[in-house]
Structures are given as C-alpha cells and as structure tokens.
C-alpha cells in the first residue's frame, strides 16, 4: 500500500517535467527566445540563403552607375517611355472595358428609376449616353495628358543631355588648355635651365677646348682634358635629365589633379542639371495628376424633375464608387509598373534608387518566398511551444522577452524538440 502511494506521488511529480512549473520562481510562466530556436530549425539554412540572396541584390543595386553618354541616356529614356506607354495602354484598355460595363449597368439603373418616376425613356437614354460620354472624355483627357507629359519628359531629357554633354566638353577643354599651358611652361623652364647651365660652364668648357686645340699636347694631358670635358658634359646632362624627370612627374601629377577636378566639376554640374530635370518632370507630373483628378462629374440635362435628378445623381455616385473600388487593382498594378519605371528613369539621371527592373522583380519574388518560409518556421515553433506548454501545465508563454529574472526558459527544450522532428 505504502509503495503504491509513493509510486503514484513519484509519477505525479515526474509528470511536471524537469522543472516545477508552479514553483515561486516560475509561477506558470514560460518564455521562448524564438531567434535562437529558429537557428536550429532544419529549414533555417534555406532561410539564410534567401536572406543572403536578398542582401546581395540590394548590395549590387547600391553600386554607383557608370556615367552614360548623352546618346545612351536618350535611348534608354525612349525605351522607358515605350514601356510606360504600353503599361498605360494595357491599363486603359482594362479600365475602358470596366467603364463600359458600369456605364451600361448605370444606364439600366437610371432607366429603371426614370420609368418608376414616370419620366420617358428618352431622358434615361440621354442620362446614360451622357455618363458614357463623360467616361470616354475622361479617358481621352487622361490619355492626352499622359501623351503630353511623355512628350514634355522627352524634350526636357533631350535638353538635359545636351546641356550635360556641353558642360562636360567645356570643362574637359578647359582642363586640356590648363595642361598644355603647364607643359609649355615646364618646357620653357627646361630650355632656360639648359641655357643657364651652358652659360655657367662656358668659361671652363672654352678653357679646356682651347688647351685641347694645342697640337703639342702630350698624350696624358690630352686624355686628362678629354676627361674634364666629358665630366662637364656629363654633369650638364645629369642636371638636365634630373630636371626633365622632375617635370615629367609634375606633369603626371598635374594631369591626375586636373582629371579628378574636372570629373568632380562635371559630376557636380551634371548632377545639378539632372536634379533640375527631375524637379521639372516631377512638377509637370503633379500638374497632370491634379488636372486629371479635377475632372468633374457629368452634368445632367435640365429638363428632368428635381427629385429624379437627385435620384440619378445618387445612382451615378453609387456606380462611380463601385467602379473606383473595382478599378483599384488595375490602377494599383499600373502604379507599381510606373513606380518602377520612374525609379529606373531617376537612376538613369544619377539618383540612387536601389534595385529596379528585373532585379526589383527578383527581389520582390525572393522577399515573398522568404516571408512565407519564415512564417512556416515560426508557426511550427509556436505550435511546438504551445504543445509543450500545455503538456507541462504552464499558464502563459511569452516571446520577445528583454530580460527574465523568473519564469522558465523553454528555448532549449524547443530546440531539442524542433531538431528531433526532422531526424
């Protein structure tokens, strides 16, 4: 009997696990360091690879772009504009279909309202036709405004490229002139030095040569005088050579200094021009956007009774609101393409815009895969933590803890658990 009780009590204590969950220092509270568990999950290496791939694309995108020629900028701008036009056409086509559909349904609703009010069908046709015309006008206005904007953008870009090229050419010419002037100055200095050395040695050289012209000189003295003359020549040559080497080094350093200065000046001036270009385009874009947003609702014919007019206005507002909700996705897709093209355009003009085009798409796809995988791993960790917490009788389990002086750290138990799941 006693043994049975001891055995039962032992199993009750053993069932609580290695820790007494209800002790004063724990009080049913557990916590998990999810980051630590995550690193032991069998899928963590995949998650790390995705993180690395994302960071690598971002790193490559942070590289300063090699300055392009004016012609290349114009060519790439035209290409971006073509892509923007295609995206606009696609979006407009979808929106036109939706608009037609809504206009038709709105016409039917207006006709029904007018019939119910005893107004002739003619009025309803007018209202419905007017709604369709209004939609068509809005589309045409948007299309014309966008065409106008692109033409403006093209012309501003062309001006920008021409001005940038002219400035670069001018600064390079100035640098070449400075370099030529410096080279000529050094050349003149060398000539002066040569003359000065010759003059300094003239008396000595003449004395030696005069003595050499004496035919009665013995062989030893002639040899000694020849050596003296050779030494004078060698000394002069060495002095000239040293000067030439020093001048060549000075010129090389000057060329590097001029080149760095010119490149800096070109960058600053071209940067200022490109900044002004971006501002002009941005201002025009805002103007166009405001114009399009200000397109008003259609005016109703005057021969319709006030009550019916009010009802038609309500129907119109209702369909407009429904259309706007429906059109949001198309507009959202178009805006995403446009935002990317805008960033590519800004990048073309020297702005730091991160990944664009194919790199941006790849980045987006990788980010989605990364988020999905991370969620899958964290969900699994949470499920396992919940199971352990239930089994051991915890009353609450936290994550993201800054510090703990009590409670029980479930992290190591979870690491073992998560690892064993995939053994």
């Amino acid at each position: 009997m006693a043994l049975a009780i001891v055995s039962t009590a032992g199993s009750v204590l053993g069932g609580c696990g290695r820790v007494d969950v209800h002790s004063p220092s724990v009080r049913g509270l557990g916590y998990v360091r999810v980051d630590a568990v995550l690193k032991h999950h069998p899928l963590y290496s995949q998650l790390s690879q995705l993180d690395d791939a994302i960071a690598a694309i971002n790193l490559a995108a942070a590289a300063p772009h090699v300055p392009r020629s004016a012609a290349a900028i114009s060519r790439e701008t035209a290409q971006l504009n073509r892509q923007l036009r295609d995206a606009q056409n696609r979006a407009n086509k979808i929106l036109a279909q939706k608009q037609q559909n809504y206009a038709k349904r709105e016409g039917q609703a207006v006709a029904a309202a007018m019939a119910a009010a005893g107004v002739g069908a003619g009025g309803s046709q007018v209202a419905s036709a007017m709604s369709a015309t209004s939609a068509q006008q809005a589309r045409q206005a948007a299309s014309a405004a966008n065409q106008d904007f692109m033409a403006y953008q093209q012309s501003v870009v062309a001006q920008d490229s021409a001005a940038s090229s002219a400035i670069a050419r001018q600064l390079q010419q100035q640098a070449a002139q400075k370099f030529r002037a410096k080279a000529e100055q050094l050349q003149q200095n060398e000539t002066d030095l040569s003359l000065r050395i010759t003059q300094e040695d003239a008396a000595q050289r003449l004395a030696v040569k005069t003595r050499l012209s004496n035919l009665a000189l013995d062989e030893a003295t002639r040899k000694q005088l020849d050596e003296q003359l050779a030494a004078i020549n060698a000394k002069d040559s060495a002095a000239m050579e040293a000067q030439r080497r020093a001048d060549a080094a000075t010129l090389q350093a000057y060329r590097a200094q001029l080149s760095a200065q010119t490149n800096g000046d070109v960058r600053a001036q071209v940067g200022a021009i490109q900044g002004a270009t971006r501002s002009k385009i941005e201002e025009r874009r805002n103007e166009v956007g405001t114009q399009l947003r200000n397109l008003g609702p259609p005016a109703l014919p005057t021969n319709i009774p006030a009550g019916v007019r009010e009802k038609i206005a309500k129907i119109h507002a209702q369909f407009t609101s429904q259309f706007q909700v429906d059109a949001q996705k198309t507009i959202g897709d178009y805006n995403a393409v446009k935002a990317d093209l805008d960033r590519q355009f800004a990048g073309l003009h020297g702005a730091d815009v991160g990944a664009t085009g194919a790199a941006a798409q790849e980045l987006d796809a990788l980010q989605k895969r990364r988020d999905a995988l991370n969620k899958q791993i964290v969900d699994q960790i949470t499920r396992e933590a919940t199971r352990i917490a239930k089994d051991r009788g915890f009353s609450i389990v936290f994550v993201n803890v800054a510090a703990a002086q009590g409670g029980y750290d479930l992290t190591n138990d979870l690491i073992k658990d998560v690892e064993s799941l995939h053994e």
């Binding site: 007494d20 690598a56 490559a60 009353s395 993201n400 510090a403 002086q405």
Partner: protein, 267 residues
C-alpha cells in the same frame, strides 16, 4: 500498527510536498492580451487610416516639390520638420480620438478582469486572457466609456522603452558609427558586386562584406547589447519582476523600469 503509522506519515509528507508550492505562490493570471491587428480592422479605424494615407500621398507630393526649392541644409531641415508636424497634426485629428476611446475600452475591460498588465497578442504564444472581443464590443458601443477608478495593480511584468535607451549618448554614438561604417562598406563592396562575373564571385564578395559588417557589429554594438541586458536583468531582480518586455509590446499597466535601466547604464 507501526506500519500504519509510517504510511500515514509518508502520505502526509507527500501531500504537503505536492500542495506547498501552490500555497506559496499562485500562477500568474493577471496578464491579458489584445490583438491590435484585429482592432485596426474595425471599419472606423480602417476609414481613418485610409484618409490619413490619402493625406500623406498628397503631402508627399507637396513635400517633394517644396524640398527641391530648398537652398541650404537648414532649409531642408525646416521644411522636413514642417511637413512632419502637418502629418502629426492630421494623425492626431483623425486617429487620436479613436485611439483614446480604444485605450479607455482596454483600461475598463482590464479593471473588470483584475488585469495588472495587457500586452500585444504577438508576444503571447500560449495562455493569458484574450480581451480583444470585450474591448471591441465596448469600443463599438454608443455610450461614453468611463476610465477605471483605480490605476492597474502592480505587475510582475516590467517593460523598458528601447527607444529611450537608444538615445543614450554612448548608444547613439555607437549606432551612428555603425551606420557610417555600413555606408562606407556598401560604397566599397557595391561596385565589386556589380562587376562580379559569376555567382561564386558574387558569393565570395558578399561573404567578405557580410563579415566586415558582422565583425564591426560585434566590436561596436554587442558589448552595449550585453550591458543593456545585464542592467535590465539586475533592475528586474531588484524590483522582483519575473519578466521584462519592450515598451512597444505593452498596451496597459505593467511596471516601467526604463529610468532605472537608464541609470544603471550611465553609472
């Protein structure tokens, strides 16, 4: 007879051992949580956020146009602050009253349930009291919500405001230095990465870049992180707190130990 006596003693001892811990300290039951993401989906909040989003888009366009006309850094700073203020004012106007009502609803429900602390759902993975539905019901009701008569009872869950600790001079200096280093490294490695011909080259360059950043983090930030953890733990011990979480995760109640941790760190 003797055997029966021994058995009785043994049973009494075991029962005492089983019952004693529960009698000394009860499990923590005064912790509630709210699903803030669910509250944010209440139509009035959605509507206010939509309006705020539209206002921000409009403000961004104005800001971009204005900042281009700035002539100096001081101008740019002034313009940025001015637009930031405009946005904050609008946010206060649109979301402020809703936020206040939600806070009152959380406080009222917490008082009814005797909760000492309410945290965000994202940091509780098991247990605790979910008060989201009660808060939602009270929030959506038509009556005015009265604040609870008493402040929440003292909680054994503490919190620190990480943003305050981040603004300490030595932490700020280290963070600034780290950001500067990261920018320089990016400038150095990005062109190499862009010119790399094969995936193997790219991987090698990225690993070098990553190592340089990671080494610098270990050198600059890790000692500060360790110091902060240790200071937070010490303060929690002195205040007899079981756990400390970040301020951002606490919605109501809890024990604020930010100033104490700050003092420890500046000693």
């Amino acid at each position: 007879m003797r055997n029966r006596f021994v058995t009785s003693l043994l049973v009494a001892a075991l029962l005492a051992a089983l019952v004693a811990p529960a009698a000394i300290a009860a499990d923590l039951t005064d912790v509630g949580y709210v699903d803030q993401a669910e509250l944010a989906n209440i139509p009035v909040f959605l509507n206010a956020n939509r309006q705020l989003f539209a206002y921000k888009a409009q403000l961004d366009a104005q800001f971009n146009a204005t900042i281009k006309r700035a002539k100096s850094d001081a101008d740019r700073q002034r313009i940025s602050l001015q637009f930031q203020q405009q946005y904050t004012d609008k946010q206060r106007e649109l979301v402020g009253p809703l936020f206040q009502r939600a806070q009152l609803a959380i406080a009222a429900v917490s008082a009814t349930r005797n909760l000492a602390v309410v945290v965000d759902k994202r940091i509780v993975i098991f247990g605790g009291q979910d008060i989201t539905k009660d808060v939602e019901t009270l929030f959506l009701g038509s009556q005015a919500i009265q604040p609870p008569a008493a402040s929440p009872p003292p909680s054994e869950i503490g919190y620190v405001d990480q943003s305050v600790l981040d603004s300490l001079p030595k932490v700020k200096t280290a963070n600034d230095e780290m950001n500067q280093f990261a920018t320089t490294q990016r400038t150095l490695f990005a062109p190499k990465m862009a010119l790399a011909k094969s995936d193997a080259d790219k991987q090698q360059i990225y690993q070098q870049y990553n190592k340089s950043i990671s080494d610098k983090q270990d050198q600059l930030l890790k000692p500060l992180v360790d110091q902060t953890k240790s200071a937070t733990g010490d303060v929690a011990g002195k205040k007899k707190l079981l756990l400390v979480v970040d301020r951002a995760d606490v919605i109501y109640g809890g024990t604020d130990i930010t100033a104490d941790v700050q003092n420890e760190l500046t000693k």
